[in-house]
Amino acid sequence: MENLKNIRQPMKIIRFFLLLFLAMLLAGAGPAPAADDALAPFRDEQGTLKIAGGTAHIPVMKAAAREIRRVNPRIRITIAGGGSGVGIKQVGEGLVDIGNSGRRPTAAEIEKYHLRLFKWAVDGVAVVVNPANPVRSLSRAQLRDIYAGRLTNWRQLGWRDLPIDLYTRDQASGTRAVFWKKGLAKGEISPRANFVVANGAMKSAVATDPGAIGYLSVGYLDRTVAPVAIDGAAPSREGRYRISRGLYSNTRGEPRGLTKKFINYLFSPAGQQLIAEAGFIPVAR
């Protein structure tokens, strides 16, 4: 018994290395050598990278973290939400390495925290309704009337008799800021609107409520909600859709080490592909 164990142990090790070798061969022959080139700087890095802020950024942050940890599992990347305001505040106070925001930080914020801004994508803010709702197109004026509480029933917009349930986000949301500025032209939002706390919460709220209308980052669009064209332009990558904003990753001072490599990766071809796959328009540095 004892002997058998002794023999098996080296065999296990040999088999492990054989498998590893095979895996490396396969990875080398894989379809994305370019992606691995972009990941090369991470090979001999280690440590923790802390990211927080805008919730629209999260799908891209997660995809990038997954790719980086694939080549080097010793790197730990934590990704938290909180909203644009929290992202700017936390990076400014040194609590995180990268603070994401779905709006350009204000001049005061940039000066106070010595922020460096990296805009890596343009994100559309899509107006969404429940998939059961056949309304797929609204004019900007109609959108304003709906959010101001002047249009209150879907019958007024050509569907059945069902009250419109408004959903909006809290003041700290970058998504709200863009929607309010560009979608509503700074129009009023009815005080009877329901408030949800994040892009994900918005999606599940609209997905479960037939009378709902809400807005979210196009990165969160899927089949559970239906996007609505505004003034004939569908929320997509085309430039005609006007409710859009930059997605920023901000650092305090010039980024260094792992932080710098992470931001470089976002601007690499592989990173830009991840951004496009998430539904955003990649922006070159």
Binding site: G82, G83, G85, V86, K89, L162, P163, D165, Y167, D170, Q171, A172, S173, S190, P191, R192, A193, N194, F195, V196, V197, S204, A205, T208, D209, G211, A212
Partner: protein, 285 residues
Amino acid sequence: MNQRLQLPEKFFRLAAWGSAGLSLLILVFMLILGRPLLGHDLFALVFHQPWQPDRQLYGLFPMLVGTLAVSTTALLMALPLAFGTAILAAIIRPGGCGRLLVRIVQLLTGMPTVVYGFVGIFLLVPRLRTLFGGGSGRSILAAALMLALLITPTMVLIFIDSFQRVPRGWQTAAAALGCTPMQTFRHVILPRAAGGLLSGTILAFGRAVGDTMIALMLAGNAVAVPCSLLDPARTLTSQIALVFAADFSSLEFKSIFLCGLILYLLTSTLTIALRLARPTVGYQP
């Protein structure tokens, strides 16, 4: 003997004063941080203005109404439920069935409130929406129903405890005088347990006022003053959770300390008032 007691006694005294001092310190902390708003016309702030941070209006009246409406409704629903359960478990069937019931109730007290919120979103809100036709289903009623579920177990356990603390001898004496079990309950147990019932109710109300997740997820968080149980509402706790991500130097952010102050005063005055009005029926030791 005396020597040996000293150290633990010192320790416990320190712990007691420490925690008492801590709650006072929290009050001071909120007063200091909320000071920029205390300069405003406080009465107008709390009772008159709407909440429109875009226009520098930071009224908290809708949230005050929301908090009171949600927690009072929850208490009114939970009280008969808890009372009935406690009587069944402690007096009518103190044996096997009652003990099983107590075990289940104990299990319920440990449930995290976010679970209630989650269940509410997927099971309760859609049903309320179809039942009452129109509206998003996110309402005072939805939050109150879930909150009632949250606070009932606490009340049941405290009620049972106060029933069981009535001396056995009194009950046997009442039975010997020819009282039926219900008469014993009505004239012997209930008056003696009144203080315990009151504490249980206060504790439960405090828990309902202080809970955040359930109202945040189910009440809709609209900033209008609610007019019916089916209207959405925002509680003071949800307000803190929603505004927390705002720019930390803004008045909007500072107003959440006023929210905290109102919550603090609300629960403490309620506790003091009810303690003063302690029922004096029955035997006072």
